[in-house]
């Protein structure tokens, strides 16, 4: 599957003594988070060809709203999560109407610059509203379960399961319903879809808002699992785009797979005693995503998984 795997043969034997399953579990947790965000974004990018650089801030807004609802307004966890998702959807809708739609019919790169502007504005507002201090949505200690040699918390299990359920649900809608067929038609060839009577304008909105809700879900996940601080935003955006570009333009499942792959590589890079000789300095963990983009784009500029669009 990965070109990296072949060269790790001997190191793997050394690794087996080092609970790789725990590393895999870590990768699942981190990957689910990224997969949600990347999946939504891939849909937007595949259909509209538009970059949404305010994505990280939208993620944070979802998380912060859930935090505020739970910790300040003392609502129940479920209610706060739903509130966070709704708020994320609302902000994404605003993003679309003001910063994307008036621009992408002129050229699809214009929203790149406008969403950068929007991300700055959102940064300012987040700083004013929530200050620089870190926020965590749940305040109780997490209860750990141990599955074999792996230690994982109940909340993390729930998150992973929910992510997989959400992705499966999305897959079902995408591939097995008529609404999904319309979506796929728009992804493949928008003018042709429109000529068949599919209302692509509404679908654009729906796609954008769904990507926003996924992003907000990712933010809530981070708020529960780690903590939220205003400076997370940009690295989330970059990682999501790493997954998309590597996965191939317009290929949603490619992006999701790449999100998990990047998470796996990050955990493995730092966790394994390479060739029994050295450890990679942990400071390079975040650069895995960057390296991933760089290597993939150098070797295969169109991405790992080509999208199969007929041109004639």
């Amino acid at each position: 599957m990965l070109p990296v795997a072949q060269s790790r043969g001997s190191a793997l034997r050394g690794v087996l003594l080092l609970s790789p399953v725990q590393l895999l579990a870590n990768a699942l947790i981190a990957g689910s988070l990224a997969a949600l965000i990347a999946g939504g974004l891939a849909l937007v990018y595949g259909v509209l060809g538009v970059f949404n650089m305010a994505l990280g801030q939208l993620t944070l807004i979802g998380g912060y709203t859930a935090w505020w609802l739970h910790q300040v307004a003392h609502m129940s966890v479920l209610f706060s999560v739903i509130g966070g998702l709704l708020c994320g959807a609302l902000m994404t809708w605003i993003t679309f109407e003001v910063f994307v739609r008036p621009f992408y019919k002129h050229h699809r790169f214009l929203p790149l610059v406008t969403t950068i502007a929007w991300s700055m504005i959102l940064d300012g507002f987040i700083l004013l509203a929530f200050e620089e201090r870190p926020r965590s949505i749940l305040s109780e200690a997490k209860s750990m379960i141990s599955l074999g040699s792996v230690l994982i918390s109940r909340e993390q299990c729930l998150m992973i399961v929910l992510t997989i359920v959400a992705l499966l649900l999305f897959a079902w809608i995408f591939h097995c319903t008529s609404f999904g067929r319309k979506l796929r038609a728009v992804v493949q060839h928008e003018s042709a879809a429109r000529s068949l009577g599919i209302n692509s304008a509404i679908l654009h909105r729906v796609i954008f808002i769904v990507s926003g809700m996924f992003a907000a879900a990712g933010g809530i996940f981070i708020g529960i699992d780690q903590n939220l601080s205003p400076t997370l935003a940009f690295s989330l955006t970059i990682k999501a785009y790493a997954a998309i570009i590597a996965g191939g333009k317009g290929n949603i499942w490619g992006a999701i797979v790449c999100a998990y792959v990047i998470a796996l590589l990050e955990q493995l890079l730092v966790g394994i005693h390479w060739f029994g000789a050295f450890y990679v300095p942990a400071g390079y963990q975040q650069t895995v995503a960057l390296l991933f983009i760089i290597v993939i784009l150098l070797l295969k500029p169109s991405g790992l998984f080509r999208s199969f669009a007929r041109t004639a």
Partner: protein, 370 residues
């Protein structure tokens, strides 16, 4: 709209460029710190500490009858912005002294300008060893390396802890701490540096499970990274002692860490908690500190020692420098200290503070061997 802004800012510039300092009127004190950006949490804390002391002095009648006027500038934790900030403070506002920079990059960029203008630059937070030689007018009331890490090394020796696992955040603050602890203590059993802002330490924790260590040092820049380190350590079932330094001793560590940080220790200057005079007053006026109370306290003392100097010798940079160099001791919130020949602070005392039942409790002082 652009032209309007440009013209008005040009006008403002030209007007203020012609201001002058006098012997009457308010004493101008400058402040440079990161009020936006990644480092904003301790920018805000040090600003609030500064403001608190300035308000106190002004309420008590000012210095020799003159009120203090505080002019704060945003350094954004970048050399470029700090350089512009110090230029404005020195040339336009004509400040007598500056409490700043907070990030070491800010202090190093501001130092040459302050030095040339004979304006005291007193940093409450810069810990980089480069600040020691940054200039004759550059002081700091934050210990550079020797003190904090000597205290921690002494504590480890006292408890017989020989194998230390450290995870460091790659900022000048945390890296400085790590470098000097290595000098004072020796090699670490596990020594990793992570990118600033990392919150996922799981793979490192997985590796750490196979390492033989006695104590874990969470060497982060702020509770946003320190708390997850400890939480994830405990999640993986490791029960060794966890310890951190002043950046971790804050209410945010408790709120994020929850039960996982029970038993977390910190080495910090004493008497800063909620139940002390300084701590409770700070929280009453400005709310819980965004970073840690220690940062506000260092800034508070910076203003205090500067005010004492100005009160004694007047509002003149060279005279203040002379006073600070001769200063025997200043009883501040962070300890009774004075400055050595490089402007570094000497004489701080440290205490051990532990999380007990969800609150930081000060247990005992830590003696620093001479």
């Amino acid at each position: 709209m652009r032209t309007f802004f440009a013209l008005s800012s040009l006008l403002a510039l030209s007007l203020t460029a012609c201001g002058g300092a006098g012997d009457e009127g308010p004493i101008k004190l400058g402040y440079i710190g990161p009020l936006t950006g990644d480092a904003a949490s301790y920018g805000i804390d040090t600003l609030n500490g500064t403001k608190m002391k300035v308000d106190e002095i002004n309420a008590a009648g000012g210095i020799n009858g003159r009120q203090i006027q505080l002019i704060a500038e945003d350094g954004k934790c970048a050399g470029a912005d700090a350089a512009t900030a110090v230029q404005k403070l020195v040339n336009i506002d004509k400040v007598i002294a500056i409490v700043g920079g907070q990030c070491s990059g800010e202090t190093l960029a501001a130092a040459p300008v302050a030095e040339a203008a004979k304006v005291i630059l007193l940093s409450p937070l810069s810990s980089s060893p480069d600040v020691t030689n940054a200039g004759a007018y550059v002081y700091r009331d934050y210990p550079s390396d020797a003190l904090k890490t000597k205290a921690m090394a002494a504590y480890f020796q006292e408890k017989g802890l020989t194998k230390v696992a450290v995870i460091t955040e790659n900022t000048d603050f945390a890296q400085g701490f790590r470098a000097s602890l290595k000098k004072d203590f020796g090699d670490f059993a596990f020594d990793e540096v992570v990118e600033p802002g990392t919150k996922d330490f799981r793979s490192l924790m997985t590796r750490l499970k196979n390492v033989d260590f006695d104590v874990f040092l969470a060497n982060g820049q702020s509770p946003a990274t320190i708390a997850p380190m400890v939480v994830q350590l405990r999640e993986q079932g490791m029960k060794q002692l966890a310890i951190t330094h002043d950046a971790g001793q804050s209410a945010d560590t408790l709120s994020i860490g929850g039960k996982s940080v029970e038993g977390l220790e910190a080495i910090n200057v004493p008497a800063l908690g909620k139940d002390t005079a300084f701590g409770s007053k700070f929280i009453a006026q400005y709310g819980e500190p965004q970073g840690a109370a220690a940062f506000g306290a260092h800034a508070y003392d910076a203003v205090g020692v500067l005010a004492e100097a100005i009160g004694a010798v007047g509002a003149n940079g060279e005279a203040i420098k002379g006073y600070l160099d001769q200063l025997e001791e200043y009883p501040g919130v962070v300890g009774t200290f004075h400055f050595d020949e490089n402007g570094d602070v000497v004489g701080m005392s440290y205490a051990l503070i532990v999380v007990q039942n969800g609150a930081w409790v000060q247990t005992r002082p830590i003696a620093i061997p001479e």
